[in-house]
Symmetry: C2
Subunit: 130 residues, 2 copies
C-alpha cells in the first residue's frame, strides 16, 4: 500500500527554494483525475510563486508554515489547517523560518488544470512576515 509518511525525492530546484521533498501519492494517470502529493518543506524552504487553473487544496499534517496570495500579507499555517487556494490566483507556500511544514497537496479536475510556475519568492518577500 502506498505511504504518505515517506519524504519522497528532492523537489525540482527550478520551482522551489531551499530543501523540499515531494512524495507523489496519486498520479494523474491512476484514473482519479487528480494530482496528489505530500510535500515536506524544511525551515525556509518554499515553492516559487505559481498558479493552478483548477485551484489547489492543502492539508497541513505537520509543523508550521506560511501561505501567501499575491497582494496580501503572509498567513501562518499549522497542523490541522485546510488551505483552499482559489483558481488561477498567484500564491506560494512553504515552511516557516524555524520549523518544517508538511502538507498533503491536491489539484482537483486535473484534466482541466494548468499549473504555471513563476519567479522564486525572494528573501525580502519571505521575510515580510516580520
Amino acid at each position: 500500500m502506498a505511504s504518505f509518511i515517506e519524504k519522497g525525492t528532492p523537489a525540482p530546484t527550478a520551482y522551489f527554494t531551499g530543501t523540499v521533498w515531494v512524495n507523489i501519492n496519486v498520479k494523474p494517470d491512476e484514473g482519479y483525475n487528480i494530482n496528489m502529493a505530500t510535500v515536506t518543506f524544511e525551515p525556509k524552504g518554499r515553492t516559487n510563486w505559481h498558479t493552478h487553473v483548477s485551484g489547489q487544496i492543502l492539508f497541513v499534517i505537520e509543523g508550521t508554515g506560511y501561505y501567501q496570495e499575491k497582494g496580501k500579507p503572509i498567513e501562518v499555517i499549522q497542523k490541522g489547517d485546510v488551505v483552499k487556494i482559489p483558481k488561477s490566483v498567484e500564491h506560494w507556500h512553504g515552511a516557516s523560518h524555524e520549523r518544517l511544514m508538511r502538507h498533503i497537496a491536491l489539484v482537483p479536475d486535473y484534466d482541466k488544470d494548468k499549473t504555471e510556475w513563476l519567479q522564486p519568492v525572494s528573501d525580502d518577500e519571505y521575510n515580510s512576515i516580520f
Copy 2:
C-alpha cells in the same frame, strides 16, 4: 481557516455502525469538484458497505483500521497509508477492534460521482479479521 483536526458531527446512523464523526473539509459547492472530509471512527466503528462511481482516496492520519473490498480479505490500514478505492467496487472502512482510526476521505470528479449506500457490515463480517 478551516481545520481538519476537529472531529465534526456524528455520522448518519443509516450508513455507519458504532461511533463515527464526520468533519466536512471541502464541500462540492465550493468549486473544486471534490467532496473531502475527515472521518474519525472509534474502535469497532465502520461504514456500511458502499460504492462510489468516481472511486475514493483515503489518507490514514491516525490510528489503525480495516479496509475490505467485497470478496477479498480485510486489510489492516494504519497511519501513513494511502488507500485507492477503485471505481464502483463495493467496500467498507472503519476502525480496528481496539484502536480508533482517522482518515481524510476524498471523492474526486464529484460531478460524475454517485455514492450508493448498502447494508451494514455485520459483526460476523467485521470479526472475520481473526
